[in-house]
Symmetry: C2
């Protein structure tokens, strides 16, 4: 393997696309960001960006972390599709097929949160922590669980933002805004839930507003459930809501209070500051994770056992 | 490999121990069941049972599925110990060390629920369903998640019985009986919680008592969270509470209602009767799972890559 072998990575978000060509975080050769418009226009831009690198033989594998809902089951007839999304013009889009057709290289495909989790595990703050969990709390809430370097995919891809958690309606009469489950975790604690409840975006709610204790309590309830179910060695919290850094100590404190000594691990009991943390790669978890995914695909196809 | 190679299996429960010598479910050579008394007496009985098979060279690997709380982290200095348990005389018992010392064979060690899950995956109703989840709802509540033939162990072993779930105190004023978390899933829905709430054991509560709808709703809330987090392809519900078979249709109906179309898989939407099911091995999931665990250990040590 050459030291400078390059890979392509696409962070395909519902708001913006980030495309990178890189070998590792400190060696990013090219990068482009653009708004997500129609499927056709957006995917064409991505293809145009990568085409010269493919044509010159510099890259032969691309990783994609895509917004959803997504079909990530390889056996499925709609593998690589965005399925039914409220985003206009994107329902039933064969993202993987369009990219493969336009570029003619190997492409690995996974959800945005799984890929961000992989990025943090490969190069970020979860490095060396197996298993680990990456959670985004923003426009939506979703999680990627990385075990032995791979994202967890089962019957479908997990949808752990939609967990049922306690909701005290006396304390918080907000009914929740999830169109499927009303007051699930996402319905209570996502960015849009905050804005609908308070009338202003979370970014403009002052730090001392008591609402943040409620928000931290919801996040902590969900984290407790993930800890008890998945037993991760590191939990990374990304996304727009977690930009409010004062939330971290509140969440950690509340997780410890809720667990009440039940998970008798030093990580939780003594060093929770190093257990529940912001992303190590800042806003690049997704795009660099896509590079890591492309590398995995490339290594797998060199594996004589495959 | 010979057709009739034998293995030892121990289902080490807090109430009773089951020890078996077998090659597979249809070839059980010997079996013994006895009450769990003191650690010394109980483990001695198990050792005496297996000793002739070890001495004659018929078995060289034993699997153990043990009640807990348990240290299952191989790197830990108390690996193989029951840690702090309310069960008299069992706290800080080196179960694995005592068995190894008494028998001098290879011993594989995991939690009771992980081993039962493995049994169902190897020979029971989860066979061919990867990943799968085994849940016991009885004196306590616990779950074992099996992926690629291995139980999920992370920072610690999961403790998924203690999930936080919605609890409507108007509908159900019972405060919960978990000494750590009061109204977690186990605190609301385990056998002892039922008995404490109603004054009689669950086994004697009539089928038409409206309480069972509440019980089913708690179980369904927890299942929804496991489905969204772990995405299993099969969910097996064992344990004393689930002996009341009329609970299964109630739970399935409520899971589908709660998910509300969100997990768009045929398994959930159309065939939930085959998705949430009783154990295929009856009350032998644990002891046969222990045989499966011993087989895995034996195969691993023949693996040239190890």
């Amino acid at each position: 393997m050459q030291m400078k072998k390059l890979y392509g990575g696409i962070e395909a978000g519902g708001t913006k696309f980030v495309c990178v060509v890189a070998s590792r975080p400190t060696h990013i050769v090219d990068e482009i960001r653009f708004k997500t418009t129609t499927a056709e226009e957006t995917l064409s831009k991505a293809i145009q960006f990568f085409r010269p690198f493919v044509a010159s033989g510099q890259i032969n594998a691309i990783g994609v972390g895509c917004f959803g809902p997504l079909d990530v089951i390889p056996e499925s007839s709609t593998y690589g599709f965005i399925t039914v999304t409220p985003k206009p013009g994107w329902s039933n889009t064969n993202v993987l097929g369009i990219l493969r057709g336009g570029l003619g290289v190997k492409i690995a495909f996974d959800t945005d949160v799984n890929v961000a989790g992989l990025g943090e595990y490969k190069w970020g703050i979860s490095k060396g922590f197996d298993p680990s969990l990456y959670l985004t709390i923003g426009t939506g809430i979703g999680g990627g669980y990385i075990k032995e370097g791979k994202s967890l995919i089962g019957l479908l891809s997990p949808e752990m933002g939609h967990l049922r958690i306690p909701h005290n309606r006396e304390l918080d009469p907000f009914v929740g805004n999830c169109p499927f489950h009303e007051d699930c975790f996402e319905g209570l604690a996502s960015g849009p839930a905050i804005e609908k409840r308070l009338g202003i975006p979370g970014a403009r709610v002052p730090e001392k507003d008591p609402f943040w204790n409620l928000e931290a309590a919801y996040i902590a309830s969900a984290l407790m459930n993930y800890i008890l179910t998945l037993s991760p060695k590191k939990i990374v919290l990304g996304g727009g809501v977690m930009q409010r850094e004062f939330l971290f100590p509140k969440v950690r404190w509340r997780v410890r209070e809720l667990l009440n000594g039940y998970v008798a691990s030093k990580s939780v009991v003594e060093n929770i500051e190093d257990y529940i943390v912001p992303p190590g790669l800042g806003n690049q978890s997704g795009s660099l994770g896509a590079i890591a995914l492309a590398m995995q695909l490339d290594e797998r196809s060199h594996d004589p056992r495959v």
